[in-house]
């Protein structure tokens, strides 16, 4: 399936160690890989084309830096260019004067508008705001009820005049109620609609006119493909969009369509939806989506989770180890313990580059099982300290002894060692990626997390 872009490029550049410059020929080979990778990530093909041109312009004839491999260098250019696409996008909502602030949610059917209405309500309430929510979806069966339930779960007030079935009247009624009752935010949920449905687009325009929103958030499904820029583009042209909410990022979709929407339609991503629960909403961070599109896993989110589970000292210790390539089976065991602490294993694994690969997960389904972790721990516990610190000592007879001591099998021991070696390799790569991160502060943060990720 999809290998991380850096893996692919590693292959392309393997043959040219020691070259001083990136030549046109080698860059061209790399660009083919990049193109393929981006298309597989659902980046729009027009965006890919423009993108490839820009990367080519920057890469050809560049000096190969001493500190980076050619592959790393090209990945860095790709990453920089992608980040540039986002400009200085900040996640969340911009400050506005309007009181009540009106937020209108719009988008295609089933993208996640109603759920996001609840999530946003909760998020705003957490920030000390007083949001009121209203559904204007009189079409989908039980849509109004759905928002009532969601609103209750979010702990926010739901405006729901019984029997009022005119979308515009529901919206303007809510606005009047918000004004009268001192709510400082009004979130308006709308029915899903196709961008080519003239009647419903007119309805949306009428709702917009009635409440004069300062935020028009287009909710886009992260799993969307090439059509994304067409639909988002039409919503923007006909109604206007001020930001995008990228929903369903908790799966394994790469979200390249979102990148395209930002690039082509020119609106920033405000939030990312990462689950069905109402707390699963996060302000957008460009670097995370970029890593993901490039197949590097959602390393930063993982780091944040890890940081909660890991102390600063431990983290620094591990950082040193990773840098010096001294990651041992002992650290591996500690790290497994941390992972156990970090919660839903499948979610965590999904964020790790390489492990996010679904095929792998399916093939090794037992690996995801927590009981399996305990067996791994038992295996490592059955090793001598020396063995833990130097896995190369582990010859056949030692492996047999360990299997016996831990009540497992030699195959299991072998499998674990294989995993460990893979992990070591990955860490080396991650270390490299972190080093690529832009300027000082960000870089530090990346590195701090890296060790955090692997440590307890």
């Amino acid at each position: 399936m999809f290998d991380s872009l850096s893996d692919r490029l590693q292959g392309v550049f393997r043959s040219l160690r020691g070259e001083a410059r990136l030549t046109e020929v080698t860059v061209e080979a790399a660009l083919r890989e990049i193109r393929m990778a981006l298309l597989e990530a659902d980046v729009n093909f027009k965006v890919v084309k423009a993108f490839i041109d820009r990367v080519r312009d920057r890469a050809v004839d560049q000096e190969v830096l001493k500190s980076l491999t050619p592959a790393q260098q090209v990945v860095r250019i790709v990453r920089d260019e992608m980040l540039a696409l986002f400009g200085d996008t900040q996640g969340g909502l911009p400050t506005v004067q309007a009181r009540p602030r009106v937020i209108l949610l719009l988008g295609l059917q089933g993208s996640g508008k109603t759920t996001t209405t609840g999530k946003l309500g909760r998020w705003l309430a957490k920030q000390g705001r007083h949001p009121l929510v209203v559904s204007t979806d009189v079409r989908r069966p039980a849509a109004i009820e759905q928002l009532s339930v969601v609103g209750k779960q979010a702990g926010v007030r739901v405006y729901d005049p019984a029997g009022e079935m005119d979308p515009v009247a529901r919206a303007s009624g809510a606005l009047a109620d918000a004004r009268n009752s001192g709510f400082d935010v009004l979130i308006v949920d709308t029915a899903g609609r196709l961008h080519i449905d003239d009647d419903l687009m007119d309805e949306l325009r009428a709702i917009k006119a009635a409440v004069d929103p300062s935020d028009l958030l287009y909710v886009a499904d992260a799993m969307t493909g090439q059509d994304a820029i067409k639909s988002a583009g039409e919503f923007n042209r006909r109604i206007g969009i001020t930001g995008v909410v990228l929903s369903k990022m908790d799966g394994d979709a790469r979200g390249g369509a979102a990148l395209s929407v930002v690039g082509v339609v020119g609106v920033p991503i405000a939030f990312v939806g990462s689950g069905e629960r109402l707390q699963d909403l996060e302000p957008f961070h460009p670097d995370r989506v970029v890593s993901r599109v490039l197949g590097m896993g959602d390393v930063l989110s993982l780091i944040e989770k890890a940081e909660e589970a890991v102390s600063q000292e431990d983290a620094e210790k591990l950082e040193r180890k990773i840098r010096n390539n001294e990651f041992t089976l002992e650290d591996f065991r500690d790290q497994l313990r941390t992972i156990k602490k970090m919660g839903p294993l499948e979610q965590i694994l999904g964020m790790i580059p390489g492990l996010g690969n679904l095929k792998e997960l399916t093939a090794n389904r037992e690996k995801v099982d927590e009981g399996q972790l305990s067996r791994v721990e038992a295996i490592i516990n059955s090793m001598t300290v020396k063995e833990r610190r130097n896995h190369q000592l582990l010859n056949g007879s030692r492996r047999k002894r360990i299997a016996k001591g831990s009540g497992t099998s030699v195959e299991e021991v072998n499998r674990l060692l294989k995993q460990f070696v893979q992990m070591q390799k990955m860490l080396k790569q991650l270390g490299g990626m972190a080093g690529l991160g832009g300027g000082g502060k960000k870089k530090m943060r990346g590195l701090a997390g890296m060790k955090g990720l692997m440590n307890r």
Binding site: G225, G256, E276, L358
Partner: protein
């Protein structure tokens, strides 16, 4: 890969604009003189792009185009060749839905928001119109107002329905529904399930449990497990299909929201890689907006711009 080798040249010429629409692409190639020439790189690339923009995917597009350009110099029209190639992929995957003991149990599954509940309503109507006596089972006990939503559809279809107590075990509801179906002598039980991402192992296991319960109650059940795919879905659709197939035993696809501008081309890749047939397509939000899949019509629509 071989394909990419061949288009290397044209990739280097970056400023060139390629025709976007399939029609434009094939016009040159299909002109009287064009037919006798092998396909040139520009045409190949443009053709590939037409397929990619329909979400067929790079790999599948490359395969299709490769197959087509190998046959091209026999003087056939390029357009006809591409259509034939895709038709062949779809037809290779086509197979009649499995039959078996009554009631025939159909599980409707998929990721969040693809149109499962709506489709169950439409399926109930369609099967009732064809003389069957369906029963609807609401096994989404998770999403807010999911049961209420399905109840409206059941009423619209004029089909009775077994509701779940909120938070109940979905497998228990399916058990109840099948029992009711048997008792009432129904020949079809349509089960709506909660949306779930294929990456959520525990939720996927829940589907396996539903399967096992159904299998215990009726021989060969669930006879059909239909994966509802949103036509806007990109390359992730292949992951979805693969995972739902392996865990939930999916044996058919319903492609919804084809009334939009997205083509659901990933279904072609899925048909090719996994041999999963497309059974129905959803073309709107009304109860009659579900039609049995026709490969022929689908292929026609695949290359047509809607706006």
């Amino acid at each position: 890969m071989g394909f990419f080798e061949r288009i290397k040249d044209s990739l280097a010429r970056t400023t060139q604009q390629f025709a976007e629409r399939f029609e434009e692409v094939v016009q040159g190639a299909d002109s009287p003189e064009g037919r006798t020439r092998p396909v040139d790189v520009d045409t190949i690339e443009a053709l590939e792009e037409a397929l990619i923009s329909a979400d067929v995917g790079v790999a599948a597009a490359a395969r299709i185009v490769e197959a087509v350009s190998a046959k091209k110099d026999r003087g056939q029209s390029l357009r006809a060749l591409v259509r034939t190639e895709i038709l062949a992929i779809l037809q290779r995957a086509a197979s009649p839905p499995p039959d078996g003991q009554r009631p025939h149990v159909v599980l409707v599954v998929g990721v969040n928001g693809t149109g499962k509940t709506t489709t169950v309503g439409k399926l109930a109507r369609l099967s009732k119109d064809s003389g069957l006596t369906p029963l609807i089972c609401a096994a989404d006990t998770f999403r807010a107002a999911a049961v209420e939503q399905l109840e409206v559809w059941a009423t619209r279809a004029g089909v009775d329905f077994i509701r779940a107590r909120a938070g109940a075990d979905p497998a228990a509801v399916v058990f109840d529904a099948i029992a009711a179906g048997k008792a009432r002598g129904r020949d079809l039980v349509l089960v709506d399930t909660a949306g779930r991402l294929h990456t959520r192992t525990n939720l996927m296991t829940e589907l396996d449990k539903i399967r096992r319960v159904a299998a215990r109650e009726v021989e060969g059940a669930p006879h059909e497990v239909l994966l509802v795919l949103d036509a806007t879905v990109g390359q992730n659709g292949l992951n979805q299909a693969r995972e739902f197939m392996s865990v939930a035993g999916v044996n058919g696809i319903i492609l919804t929201k084809l009334d939009g501008t997205a083509k659901g081309g990933i279904a072609v890749a899925i048909a090719h890689d996994l041999q999963l047939p497309i059974r129905y397509v959803g073309v709107g939000e009304g109860i009659d907006d579900l039609i049995p899949f026709s490969p022929q019509e689908y292929v026609d629509a695949l290359f047509e711009e809607k706006w």
